[in-house]
Amino acid sequence: MAATEVVQETKRPPQPPGLLKWIRDNLFSSWGNTLLTIVLLPITVFILFSSIRWMFVGADWRVVTQFPLLYTVGQYPRDEIWRVGIGLSLIIFMLGASWGKWGGLLRSISIAFSIVFGVFALLPVQHPELDLGMRLYLGANVLLILVGYWIGRIQYLKGGHIVIGWSITPILAILFLSGFENSSTLPAVGTTLWGGLLVTFLLAAGGIVLSFPIGIALALGRRSSLPVVSAFSTIFIEAIRGVPLITILFMFSIILALFLPSESRIDRLVRSLMAVTFFSAAYSAENVRGGLQAVPHGQIEAAKAVGMSNFQTMLFITMPQALRAVLPAIVGQFISLFKDTTLVVIVGINDFLGIGRSIINSDPEFMQLQVEVYLFIAVVYWIFCYLMSLASRRLEAAMGVSSRL
């Protein structure tokens, strides 16, 4: 018996058109949902409306807009500020070159930087700190990214050259910033004068770049068959993970000196950087160790079977897979390091948050404008952290890492 039936061409159940259907499915799909929407909608609208009105009418943003240079470089001498500019431009140029060479995520970052610089260069407002020179400098940086891009496209420029460039640039930039004793062109500028975003980025970038290899070393150390090495790594990792960052910061700023020869002096900012670095390294180490454990043993056997040495196996087989597997956790650690740099305020360093505090404390009038300052600071941190997590997600997608890991 053949039961094939002739079915009329698909009749759909009665459905309202697109938007209405979406509203019904997502806001009024059931009794409870409808009630929830009715309660939440006015509250949300009210909060959104009143915050927007406060932003444009109630708030006094002068406490933010008056001091752009203070927020970016702190008390860095204004006569020497071109040195910060050169440091930044060097990095901008390298960014452009990397975009030209590798593209991908770097493209988005470069374009974002260009847009920010371009917008500030052309901002249609009068501001004493945004004079013609500053506008030209900002515009020049946009050009610099493009020049870098063009150079990066050159065929015989290899990736290795850019890596070398990246390792030299920060050193050059730091030398420019700190200057030299007894020099007339580049007089020394003590780190007590550095501040604002400059310090925040130095701590964050320095912390990320330094803590990661230390973290890998500690992870390998913990898995080492040498008992002294593995005991040392384990104690180091667990001791640091067991205490708050602020205790490490204080230890480095007060007690570290006692454990070093009495004649050695370490700069205050460097001590903070060390604290942030070691703290982050301990957490990175555990992430990396988790990744190493996730690499199937068969991979190592296969590598040994084709004649790779232990070192080669680690370098070419185990570590790349391990890092790939825990990429989200590693980026997550970088984000928390970035947020954690704010703690240096407590040991008296004027990072971005610290500058905000000192602006507030500088004038009784500003004491009434704390909300504006802290919200501005929060938004800036939010943007950078959010961009980092966005970049991480794109990187994960590109590398085929499941975000569930």
Binding site: L226, K339, T341, I346, Y374, A378, S389
Partner: protein, 396 residues
Amino acid sequence: MTTNQSSIQHKSDIPFYRDERVLQIIAQVVSAVLIIGAVIWAIMNFLKAAEARGMTLTLGFLKEAAGFPISNPPIDYDPSMSFGRAFLVGLVNTLRVSVFGVIGATILGTLLALARLSTNWLLSRIALAYIEFHRNIPLLVLLFIWYFTVFAKLPKVQESIAWPGPVYVNLRGFYITWPRLTETSQPFVISIGIGILLAIIVYVILRRRREIAGKETHYSRISLGIVMIFPLIGWFLCTGSPLWLDVPILEGFNFRGGLRFTPEFAALFVGLTMYTAAFIAEVVRAGIQAVDRGQVEAARAVGLSTGQVLSLVVMPQALRVIIPPMISQYLNLTKNSSLALAVGFQEVFSVGKITINQAGRAVPVFALVMVTYLTMSLLTSFVLNLYNRRIQFVMR
């Protein structure tokens, strides 16, 4: 002996620098010498510096009078008491804000996770906005916002905000009307204890009976009834009321009585709770989503009701995924409570810092503070390991 013996390298023929056993030993020795050497070098430097500055490294000073005040101490304290006592006050404060924070963050975080998973788009977006806001802003900035723009801006004592209760809110803190026990309250307290104990026992027994005998035993209703009735009985057994209301009263320039929370405590508590809740929400959401859809389908297919699906199938599995990262969030919250220093709440770290300023002796004080945190961390990871081992044993 075979003929091709000459082509086989005899074991003892390996040059020592290629023998992996020898290499292993060399590596051991070199690494041990380097690391132990570095540690000894640091200690020598330290001893030299200590001697040069005439530092004492003992904890004897803990018995000396502290001389600094702690606002609103949770246990008896005044400046004439010892540094040790001050440290203990700090520890109790740390534990107090951590316990409150853990409870608050767990409740708020779970609600946020459920909101995030809600089919209501608006609710889910609000939860998402909350989570993304808090996860991407440094805790210290949030604490500053809470403290300097909210809790430090409360009105003066004379202009206190009065909420029903009565609850008074002013610059010096939150004064809450609070029931306190009278001297004749023993029967009441004891009956509460018995009631809770009995309710638990009855719950367990009746639930077992329900499971074993298959008869409806109304275990939740009966045990709930016990919890409510016993305190009532205890109340009437007391001579007079077992509780009196401690109502805050304005006396001169200050409120007296009531339960008091300082603005510093409030800022730290609110900031920590709201920050950690965002992370807990993600943990709980991941845990619930980790339970395979097929589990829910299978549970529904055998006829379990929605509540039973959740309590018998989904939650037991989700909790296994949730509990380990949850505990590490609790630990984070406890460690983050050290940021109290920035808002002027005096807990372990902050008391340690004041002690260093007052009495010097940075090294022993720091050692004490770090050991305190380390102990909390190690205890937590010990519990966590026990839990993980049990789970692995059961699940495998």
